[in-house]
Symmetry: C2
Subunit: 364 residues, 2 copies
């Protein structure tokens, strides 16, 4: 695929949708990518199928709390240094970069990295959505480690972390990120092309762009949410898709704590009485309940969009009185295996399980 | 100098005295060193004067809270890995090791490191005592950085930190140490032989051993505290030395918080009424006040010893009712310059200043 400057708005919006509330404001992500592409040119995006088995691929991401990411964006030098530090540690520069997740800022930071360094970007990612923690990546589910990883702040302080397992890596990188101010750049998951081909969620950059385009086209036709849902139903991954709720936010609790934005929002019908909805989040939306009954849960997508424009609403932008629709969608089978659910299913977040696919709950 | 297995008890006790309450229980330090020397042989100790100007020297230390160090000691592999990781980062192994501080466990961990690796240990240190934070080192006072540094836990998870200044390095290594459980090994301050010769506090391993010997000899003669004070008065660094107080602990507050053991103890006379003493600590004893008036303050030494045996009492072993003497002593001039006081004088710890040397307060 090829991403032009004029595609960035659609791309960032689509990625924000897949970010399921996390990954930071797409507007910030778009600005970062626009700036980098104007300065360094359009990055080369390659298809995962075209990677050599022994190619070295780094995931590149911002890490922190979305509430902070919007205040303190990457400067560019930090992105370069994160790649340099991990390359130095491994004695080899990467042949390609890959987004660790597709969502908000973390779908455009890899574009910036690729534009700045000239290292091609793979049209795929490690989550097929966004998740809050660094172990919640399909590469880890299927045996690859996130370490060694580099972490760099805006003053170019840095750390290289080696950890015995992915959860320890998460704990260590999180404590460093908290100290660095909760908005840092990390290069991680140095994996082979073979691993990317087997375990990445493929072509998600294309899907993000097409989601954004469906919303844009839908706006022109006066039905953006419907256009979005129709497009998702045409995809391989997100095809089980439903508007779970239509209403307004009547209660919201959001804290930036332990390195995350955590909380919940409650919704009521626009007018009159009816079912109530609750969405729980930790950077990303994790669970949606109607009248206390779980209707969609991680790893399936729960996305909050403006009910008129289908604009995805990240958790840091949720506010009292907002009129929204909540969309639930399936994820690829590789993200629903028992191994995957151990890492990013409901129990991994302390939620009541067991995991039940969205299509078995709301569209039986 | 040469340290034999039979010297370790005296050496560890003397180092615990110079640790001024910090650096962890000397008993643990002694066990670690005994074990290493039995397995790997006596380490080679070299004099700072014998270092080549361009020799590469690493400081090596445990870092954390003394209250935790006593529960979770180094395993050995973590020490080796800390040196390996920093060597790998620099592309060169060190020609010598140096204790970052002389105090408790951190005077014997370098012995262990030297015995295990065969890398000579320099008869000197970077503090002339113990301090709680990694920027509080003469090398930093006079322009050398603690980074790059390595930090390793007992599971051999590791981080390499590069920071723009020593305080940022402290903040980052502390956050990693907290996450790793507050008892970690760090190799840091990669400095040249020239820097060690100019700015290290020299021959402190010898002084620690001789302090221990003075206490042992004093015990035989029934006057260990006096023997200790007499020995200190014969040294170049600690010659302004006084028994500040003789009494019992009547109040103690000690918390393990933000990565340190912090608090204070209050003392009253053994019997009857009289002056009261308060000692404030952050891992190490920082200030001693009689009736609320400061009588000794960092960087000068404040050491609490058992009033009968002169056994140094680390902060984690302070307890209600303990009968102790409190000894104050001067430090070398290189530790009392304005630059040095900026880094580890009273104001650096948020204490009332300005710094006044012990000899100007209690022995005018």
């Amino acid at each position: 695929m090829k991403l032009e400057l004029t595609d960035l708005e659609d791309f960032a919006r689509g990625a924000a949708f897949l970010g399921t509330g996390g990954g930071g404001d797409p507007y910030i992500g778009k600005l970062l990518a626009q700036h980098a592409i104007r300065e360094f040119g359009v990055p080369t995006i390659i298809e995962p199928e075209d990677l050599a088995d022994d190619a070295l691929v780094f995931a590149i991401a911002m890490l922190g709390a979305p509430t902070v990411l919007v205040e303190k964006a990457a400067c560019g030098d930090d992105i370069d240094l994160a790649i340099d530090k991990l390359s130095e540690r491994l004695g080899r520069r990467p042949d390609a970069l890959i987004p660790i997740e597709i969502g908000g800022v973390n779908s455009t930071v890899p574009l910036v990295a690729s534009a700045r360094t000239g290292i091609p970007l793979v049209n795929a990612d490690g989550m097929g959505r966004a998740f809050p923690e660094i172990q919640m990546v399909t590469f880890n589910v299927y045996g690859s480690k996130p370490t060694p990883l580099s972490v760099v702040d805006e003053h170019l302080n840095s750390a290289i972390i080696d950890a015995k397992d992915a959860k320890t890596a998460e704990d260590l990188v999180r404590s460093v990120a908290i100290q660095m101010g909760l908005s840092v750049i990390t290069a991680n998951y140095p994996v082979s092309g073979d691993v990317v081909k087997k375990y990445a969620i493929k072509h998600t950059l294309t899907i993000a762009l097409e989601i954004g385009r469906a919303i844009s086209q839908g706006r022109k036709e006066g039905c953006p949410v419907e256009a979005l849902v129709n497009y998702l139903r045409s995809t391989k991954y997100y095809k089980h898709c439903k508007i779970l709720y239509d209403g307004k936010i009547t209660d919201i609790k959001r804290e930036t704590t332990k390195g995350f934005s955590v909380g919940f929002c409650r919704l009521e019908p626009l007018s009159g009485s009816g079912d109530s909805m609750e969405v729980v989040f930790q950077n990303e939306n994790l669970a949606a309940k109607i009248n206390g009954k779980m209707v969609t849960m991680v790893p399936d997508l729960i996305c909050i969009v403006d009910r008129e424009t289908a604009e995805p609403v990240p958790v840091e932008a949720l506010r009292y009185g907002q009129r929204v629709k909540i969309i639930g969608a399936s994820v690829p089978p590789i993200m629903r295996t028992p191994e995957a659910l151990d890492i990013f299913g409901p129990q991994a977040f302390g939620l009541d399980g067991p995991y039940t696919p969205i299509e078995d709950i709301v569209m039986p």
